[in-house]
Amino acid sequence: MERLAPTTIATRRPPLVRIPTDWTGIVFAVLLSAAVIVPLLVVGVWAFTEVWRYPNVIPQQFGLRFWNQTLTRADVWAALTLSLQLSTVVTLLSAAICLPAAYAFARLSFPGRNVLFFSFLAGHAFPKFGLLIAIAAIFLQLNLIGTFWGVVLIQLVGTLLFMIWIPVAAFQSVDRRMEEAARDVGAGPFRVFWSITLPQAGPTIAAAVLLSFVGTFYETEGAWLIGAPGIRTMPVLMISFINNQMVIQYGAVLSVMLWVPSFIALMFARRVIGGGAFARGFGG
């Protein structure tokens, strides 16, 4: 029998495919990065600057004098504590209210489902300040102006969209067969939700909770309009610093301080949740 000649095809290199350089994409990426990073950089530099006069491009004198002055103020620490308390309470309340609602939207069919679902967009579909003024008028009659719970309520409204829409997408993307398989091996409906549905939807829901927390922490208009004068959150304090003081550094220092919670939250998100969860939450 004739022996087959050893093949040389396998050792031959495939022709190199040149991937064309996407110049438009690169330009957009650079512009977007610049738009995000440059302002942050400027504020960051201002926070550590003691003297920076025109026309110098870099500050003449760096230092921590303004950090010292800011951090020794009692109202800064009070505002930071209050902001963290508010964000935690609002996020927990929002999760307690919105997650069961999101599950209902995702899994049950009931009259008016679609109208109700889209109504959560309404708060974001109109100029927010008008809505806040109207709510402030109601809160005034209810004696909620200038109170902690008044601000909680107004900030709760702002979290509804994230905390309903993203978890709905998360619950909808859980494979029903997985839940059925759990029923099949003996789990009741609540056990299925706890052991299968929630862990499967968990990372995306965590992304929603995180967005709510960070969003609430930085919320300014509601906190200012409903909270003033008694409730001063960090962003409200920062605005008053910037408005009342001619020294830029006070605002810059507070601004850098405000980055800290969101920076920690985003690092946590990257490690625990993964970028895909955000994309999935928005239907990606």
Binding site: R177, A182, V185, P199
Partner: protein, 344 residues
């Protein structure tokens, strides 16, 4: 012993769509019964009703005499293997298998023992710590099977478990599943739309169409002795020829065969392997194409009106396209009004 009895079960979905229509079946202890039918024949709905994932509109289902018709899935002694595997991706293999045992309150060492045993059974010993996404499609399907088997269900339900696997793996897995099923003597209901799978695995096949039973028989009987033209056409390759019978003679486009049945329309069914060909210049059919498969040949033929037939031949080199041939059926059956009226 575990016997599944389905009596007069119907399922009507909103619409109204009749998915399962007055279906009855008894699956004996240790028997593997295949529900076979095209998409929309109601076979999966029926299986889901046995598993408790759908409620029948009417009828009754019992396992060993106990009525399970209204029981939720978690209280039924059934184990289901899903087409998509449905493994819990946030748990590793061990946790997937241990979940059901934990719910039953078994002690840890007993759970570990049972999980190791079942992993051994499905050929995945030592895979407990793996994440399910690290497994191949075939391995995932084995884990899905093991997850059901570890709970020792009275009835095993398989919903097209090999549909997402490639042909080679499918053939190997179906042999393994059949071996395991016979070793454990577990009563099994198996849904498939692949006739090969049904013929290779089943003790009995239920051919379904539009939610109804067309035929329930052993695989060889379903193949050799189909009771309706649908079964004849669905199982294996079959030449189905519609024609007229007049005075005991069936005719269609020059083809004439003696069939002793009363006058009227009839459907003739001839397997390709039972259709002999005889070269003749005045033949009733013309060869369209000859395909040589090595072990045998397949000849495509056209009758005078273009009706396409297939014949299996031992020597394909004897035939060529354009050649005229006469047809000599060695065995055939005739159907009228969805029932068989003649068989030779």
């Amino acid at each position: 012993m575990s016997v599944l009895k389905i009596t007069d079960v119907s399922k009507i979905f909103a619409g109204p769509t009749v998915a399962v229509d007055n279906f009855s079946l008894e699956v004996a202890n240790g028997e593997l019964v295949c529900l076979l039918g095209p998409s929309g024949s109601g076979k999966s709905t029926l299986l889901r009703m046995v598993g408790g994932f759908e409620r029948p509109t009417s009828g009754q289902m019992t396992i060993d005499g106990d009525d399970i018709t209204q029981l939720p899935p978690e209280r039924r002694p059934t184990g289901m293997v899903f087409q998509s595997h449905a493994l819990w991706t946030h748990m590793n293999v061990f946790k997937n298998l241990a979940f059901g045992l934990k719910l039953r309150g078994l002690p840890q060492d007993q759970i570990r023992h049972k999980v190791e045993d079942v992993l051994e059974l499905v050929g995945l010993a030592g895979y407990g710590a793996r994440g399910v996404n690290q497994l191949s499609g075939g391995q995932q399907q084995r884990v899905a099977l093991a997850r059901s088997l570890v709970l020792e269900p009275k009835i095993l339900l398989l919903d097209e478990p090999f549909a997402s696997l490639d042909q080679h793996l499918r053939e190997r897995l179906r042999e393994e599943v059949r071996d395991i099923q016979q070793r454990l003597k577990i009563t099994t209901l198996f849904v498939t739309h692949g006739q090969d799978e049904a013929l290779a695995m089943a003790d009995r096949i239920v051919v379904m169409r539009d939610g109804r039973t067309e035929q329930i028989d052993r695989p060889d009987v379903v193949y050799r002795d189909p009771q309706t033209p649908f079964v004849a056409g669905f199982i294996g390759t079959m030449n189905l020829i519609d024609g007229e019978v007049t005075k005991g003679r069936f005719t269609r486009a020059g083809l004439a065969l003696d069939i002793p049945i009363p006058d009227g329309p009839a459907t003739l069914a001839i397997r390709p392997e039972a259709l002999d060909l005889e070269a003749s210049g005045t033949g009733v059919a013309q060869v369209h194409r000859v395909t040589d498969y090595g072990t045998h040949g397949l000849v495509d033929l056209d009758l005078g009106d273009g009706t396409r037939l297939k014949a299996m031949v031992a020597h394909p080199d004897l035939f060529s396209a354009g050649q005229k041939v006469n047809l000599k059926p060695q065995a055939m059956a005739a159907y009228r009004d969805n029932a068989r009226v003649y068989r030779s």
